[in-house]
C-alpha cells in the first residue's frame, strides 16, 4: 500500500491511497485501505491515509475516527491518531496524517512502516521501523 496526505498554507487538505492488497487474497476481495472513511479520509480538520491489514482498518474506521476525535472531542492531530492506532489490533495498522494547521504525525502498531514527512518550517523525517 502507498499513500500521501498534504495540506497547503491555507489549510486545504487532501489524501490519496493506492494498493494491490494482500498476497494470496481471494479473487474479488475488496477490503483494503483505499476505502472512504476506513483507510482514507479528509475533511476540514485533517487528512489521513492508513496502511496495514485492510480488514482491521475497515472494522476500526481508522481514518474517519481520527477526524472524528478532532472534530467532536477536540483532540490534537497527534493525540487522535495515537489513540486510534493504539486501539487497533496490534500489528495491523499504520497511518500518516496532517492537520489544517500544518501538523503532521505518522503512528504505527506494526514493526515498521516506510514513511516520510516534511513541513514548511524545514522539518523532514524519513523512517522505517517503529520507535525511530
Amino acid at each position: 500500500t502507498v499513500g500521501c496526505v498534504a495540506v497547503d498554507g491555507h489549510g486545504n487538505l487532501a489524501t490519496a491511497t493506492s494498493t494491490g492488497g494482500f498476497v494470496n487474497k481471494m479473487v474479488g476481495r475488496i477490503g483494503d485501505t483505499p476505502i472512504v472513511g476506513a483507510g482514507t479520509y479528509a475533511n476540514k480538520f485533517c487528512a489521513v491515509s492508513a496502511t496495514g491489514k485492510g480488514e482491521a482498518i475497515i472494522r476500526g474506521t481508522i481514518a474517519r475516527d481520527v477526524a472524528a476525535l478532532m472534530e467532536y472531542k477536540g483532540l490534537s492531530l497527534k493525540d487522535a491518531a495515537k489513540y486510534v492506532v493504539e486501539g487497533a489490533p496490534s500489528g495491523t495498522t499504520g497511518l500518516i496524517a496532517v492537520s489544517a494547521k500544518g501538523e503532521v504525525t505518522m503512528p504505527l502498531n506494526t514493526t515498521g512502516m516506510y514513511r516520510a514527512c516534511a513541513t514548511e518550517d524545514g522539518y523532514t523525517e524519513v523512517a522505517i521501523w517503529a520507535g525511530e
Binding site: A16, G20, G21, P34, T111, R115
Partner: protein
C-alpha cells in the same frame, strides 16, 4: 500555519535484519517521492494535485505494493484499489478490482470529478477507464518476479501476507524461510 506533507510505502512486519539491497531502494524512493511532493507544494500546486502526483510516483515504483509491483491474488492476477479525497469539499473517488489501469489513483480522481458516484469496481471501473482514455497496460506489466515468488511462498504456507511481513514456511512457523520481506496489504 504552513504546508505539510507525509507519505507512506506500506506497513507490516519489516525485519530489522532486512538486507540493505532490499531496504535501501525503498528508502531512496520514499525520499525521492517526498521531494516531488515538497517541490509541488512549494510551487503552489493544490494538495489534491500533490497527493495524486506523489501516489502516481509510488505506484510506478516496483518495490511498493501498488501499480507496478502489485501483489497477486490466489489466482496469480492483480486487482488494484485506490481512493482519493478532498478535505474542503469531502468529494472523493475510489476504484477497486483494476487489472489494466496503470495508475489507479488517477482513475479514482476521475470517478470523483467525472461521475455522480464515489466508487466503481471491476468491469465497470475498467470500462470507465477506457472511456476516459487513461493509460492502460497488459496485466503482466504489474507482475514482478518477486511477487510471483511471494505468492508461491504464501500458497505453500496457506496464508495471506501483509506488506513486508516475512514469508513463513508453515502455518504457526514463525521462522522466516528467506531473507525477504513478503508484502501484505
Amino acid at each position: 500555519m504552513g504546508w505539510a506533507i507525509a507519505l507512506h510505502g506500506g506497513a507490516g512486519n519489516i525485519p530489522r535484519s532486512l538486507p540493505l539491497e532490499r531496504g535501501k531502494p525503498r528508502e531512496a524512493a520514499i525520499r525521492h517521492c517526498l521531494q516531488i511532493g515538497v517541490d509541488a507544494l512549494k510551487a503552489h500546486q493544490s494538495p489534491l494535485d500533490v497527493v495524486e502526483l506523489v501516489v502516481r510516483e509510488l505506484e510506478n515504483h516496483p518495490n511498493f505494493n501498488a501499480g507496478r509491483g502489485s501483489v497477486l491474488t490466489s489466482h496469480g492476477t492483480v486487482e488494484m484499489e485506490a481512493c482519493i479525497m478532498d478535505g474542503n469539499t469531502k468529494r472523493c473517488g475510489a476504484v477497486s478490482g483494476l487489472t489494466t489501469v496503470k495508475n489507479a489513483i488517477s482513475l479514482a480522481r476521475l470517478v470523483m470529478e467525472k461521475t455522480p458516484h464515489i466508487y466503481l469496481a471491476f468491469d465497470g471501473a475498467e470500462a470507465f477507464a477506457r472511456e476516459q482514455g487513461v493509460e492502460m497496460l497488459d496485466p503482466t506489466h504489474f507482475i514482478t518476479p518477486e511477487n510471483i515468488e511471494r505468492l508461491k511462498q504464501a500458497k505453500e504456507a496457506n496464508r495471506v501476507q501483509l506488506d513486508y511481513t516475512q514469508p513463513i514456511k508453515n502455518v504457526g512457523d514463525e521462522i522466516p524461510v528467506s531473507e525477504g520481506d513478503g508484502q501484505i496489504g
